[in-house]
């Protein structure tokens, strides 16, 4: 059996990356605490949304506004980006030559999937406005606009962070700050996928069922 224990959420780099692995413990745990507070934010916005479901003020409801197909494609895109991010971390961890290219390639693919998700989401929200689904229309729509675009905003911020880290890799190579930043962004990236599952299930699948 393995004697070394996991020190933080997300993939542990292990003793092959001793310095980054040591520093990662406090940094990633701290980030994890922040992520959990973010989870409470999303959870309470979801609860608010549920309490607002009947407050349509004679405006359009879920079945008038939502479409399943774009949400389905967005779900697959975000899920796949979680996998490609995992591949980026794995190629960081296991490439003995410490080559930059595999890490950057996986990060680039992840970024493209993340941006595709945000673009599709923006298009959906735009279509919602055209159907009379503005946030001021009803309590239901206010709660919707507080919840779903906030998640898209999180993904956008994560994409921006990814670009910043990629630039640091380009400039400084895979040094310890870059490695620990990649571990923290990984926690955020996978976490945003988990939040999206909750949103899809309650808002879109629940609303269209």
């Amino acid at each position: 059996m393995n004697t070394e224990t996991g020190r933080h959420p997300g993939l542990n780099l292990g003793s092959g990356h001793a310095e980054a692995h040591g520093e990662a413990e406090a940094l990633v745990f701290g980030f994890w605490v922040f992520m959990m507070s973010d989870l409470v934010t999303f959870g309470l916005l979801l609860a608010t949304y549920v309490t607002m479901l009947d407050n349509l003020a004679s405006g359009p409801g879920p079945k008038d506004l939502f479409e399943l197909k774009p949400v389905f494609i967005e779900t697959l895109v975000l899920l796949t980006s979680s996998l490609t991010y995992g591949m980026a971390i794995l190629s960081l961890k296991h490439d003995p030559g410490r080559r930059l290219r595999p890490v950057l390639a996986w990060l680039g693919l992840t970024l493209m999937l993340g941006l595709a998700f945000v673009a599709m989401e923006a298009k959906d929200l735009h279509a919602l406005l055209a159907k009379g689904g503005a946030p001021q229309r009803s309590g239901f729509l206010s709660a919707f606009w507080a919840l779903v675009p906030l998640h898209a905003l999180h993904v956008s911020a994560a994409a921006l962070w990814l670009v910043a880290i990629a630039a640091q890799i380009w400039r400084f190579g895979l040094d310890t700050p870059v490695k620990t930043a990649l571990l923290r962004l990984g926690v955020l990236w996978h976490f945003l996928d988990v939040v999206w599952i909750a949103i899809v299930s309650v808002v879109f699948l629940g609303g269209l069922a």
Binding site: N2, T5, G6, G14, L90, S201, G206, A209
Partner: protein
């Protein structure tokens, strides 16, 4: 999936050998797809009555959250130095109280006010 790490593990990390780690991510991806596709199908083509559909959506969502915590965020039931799991469970408790309480109280209020 939860098989013990082999004794000849040379990487010395809790996530297992490189091959096991790759397999873990692919398992997570595969299980997530398996928990996503049928639910979308059931909603798109009305496979179930409405109440059963809602239960199925909820169950699949909870299962997928557990899958992603396990395979992507590497949260385990044991073998961790930090209290990551306790933090999740505590957050879930807070969320259950505040989120569940919000829905309960406002639904109750709605009923008393003769809402829609």
């Amino acid at each position: 999936m939860t098989a013990p790490v082999e004794a000849e593990d040379e990487t010395g990390t809790p996530d297992g050998t490189p091959r096991q780690e790759l397999r873990s991510y692919l398992w997570g991806y595969g299980l997530s797809l398996l928990l996503t596709l049928p639910v979308f199908g059931a909603v798109a083509w009305d496979w179930l009555p409405r109440a059963a559909l809602w239960w199925a959506i909820g169950a699949a969502a909870l299962a997928q959250v557990a899958v992603q915590f396990r395979f992507f965020l590497h949260i385990r039931l044991k073998g961790q130095a930090r209290e990551d799991l306790q933090l999740i469970l505590f957050t879930a408790l807070i969320l259950g109280m505040m989120g569940g309480g919000t829905i309960w109280i406002l639904h109750n209020l709605d009923g008393r006010m003769g809402g829609p």
